[in-house]
Amino acid sequence: MTSTITPDTSATTVISVEEQQFNDLIEADSRIEPRDWMPEGYRKSLVRQISQHAHSEIIGMQPESNWITRAPSLKRKAILMAKVQDEAGHGLYLYSAAQTLGATRDDMTDALIAGKARYSSIFNYPTPSWADMGSIGWLVDGAAICNQVPLCRASYGPYGRAMVRICKEESFHQRQGFEILLELMAGTEEQRQMAQDSVNRWYWPALMMFGPPDDDSPNSAQSMAWKIKRHSNDELRQRFVNMLVPQAAVLGVTLPDPDLHFNDETQQWDLGVIDWTEFHEVLAGRGPNNAQRLQRRRDAHEEGEWVREAAAAYARKQPALTNEREMAAS
């Protein structure tokens, strides 16, 4: 969900009164609201970012819903169901926020199932083991929090407010994921292996969630100027790793980066070199599960079409049906 913003090319030298007001609001760290004037580039960037974020929540339900029917205890089953359901709720809040900018839910959904819209490529990785429910919570929801907490202050009001609600729930998800891994690491040898193997698979992809390195992310600058985005990709990635290292120690898992070491000078954890080839492969649609994820969404949408049509037809008929009943009653 980062580095997706194109620079504003519509800037002119003469600034209108409205544009000046917009710039002042941004400058003063105030919120832009749906009725305020905004540059077309700002609106477009936001629609793209918010809808991509919404799609990510929705596609992100799949790798975890995969384990609802097989969760190994009733408590875990309940927590997992609640979590995946939360993600559906996040998708709904975000689609609503995008709708305040004039986007329609139908268009956004169509773009997603046609494979034209982006979503976070992390969800194109498979979840072959139960421990992946732990790793996704700890690492993926964890990275999402680092990305998203600054978005709670995003300049566009409805987006910032949606993010406040979402971030609260994401922290809860991260904690649940951590607990799943903690329980596995305190368990049998097989369970510990399951946890470590899963962390090995999710660690690097989670770091890639912050987007390409700053010197390779030309689109971020305008987003930062507009205060849609407030920290660079590398800054956020660094914060995330600093947060993970002590947590990994508590868990007793090894982070799969032999070059990871503490830098006394910067007081930060320096990481090894990220292999971006894989990231670009997955981004280009060649991830292990891209096709499967999109197909599932398409199937759900197409198989549900008759239901949505029925609901719409029923809503249209409501006044007539009510009249009929009233006449029958009188």
Partner: protein, 282 residues
Amino acid sequence: MSDNVTTDVADHADDHGHATVDVTTLDAELIEGPSNATPDIAEYALWLGDDALILAQQLGAWISRAPELEEDVALGNVGLDLIGHARSLLHYAGTASNRTEDDLAYWRTEPDFRSLHIVEQPNGDFAHTIARQFIVSHYLFELYSRLRASADATLAAIAAKAVKEVDYHRDHSTQWVLRLAHGTDESRRRISTALGDLWPYVDEIFRDDPLIDRLEGIAVRPSSLRPAFDVAIAPVLAEAELDVPVGFVASGGGRAGKHSEHLAFLLAEMQVLTRAHPGASW
């Protein structure tokens, strides 16, 4: 886990579902309940607990596949409520034999389950899921309304909580029966087919069993619920302009451990991971 990245569990505001902390822990009155269930009460708790568990398992399979996102959330809510009921009931049932809710859910085999055939019927299309939910929720509402007055304090407490949730499930499925019935020709055909397919399994719900004779004042006699069930659904079917289906009555036998062909597959999926790791905790 370091404090800067977590919020306290109590801070987790619940904005769009019932999915708060109560999904992680059982109610205190159940954990610290004064008494263990007798074998008969435990058997009755298994009846109700297994129905809730199997239906929750089925609804869980809808999440991420529903016709619209709002229904992913709604069916998830219903499933979560049911899994809460299942956990309370199985926990209580287990007190008679020193077994946990998970021992009962994951380590019993098919003949030891007590679920009704109607909850074992597959999800099918959305109409079948709604028809099944419509029938079961109306039954459960009548059941839990009366079980609140049970002489067994634990069953009464579980029922008091469950009845409010089941009331919502009843409303949700009723609204969908009406929408589908008066929606399009296709949706009308589908809901009508679904009700017809599910109706043979209604009879079993209201059959009595010698167990009930031994639990006078504690259990609710199933046959006593049938008139209230019929009265509750009649106006919905009338408004939907759907007939009460007629046809054969399925043999049933779930309370005696005789199940539909569907249950074994459902249990195999539900239990697979747990059974691969005997003795492990999760």
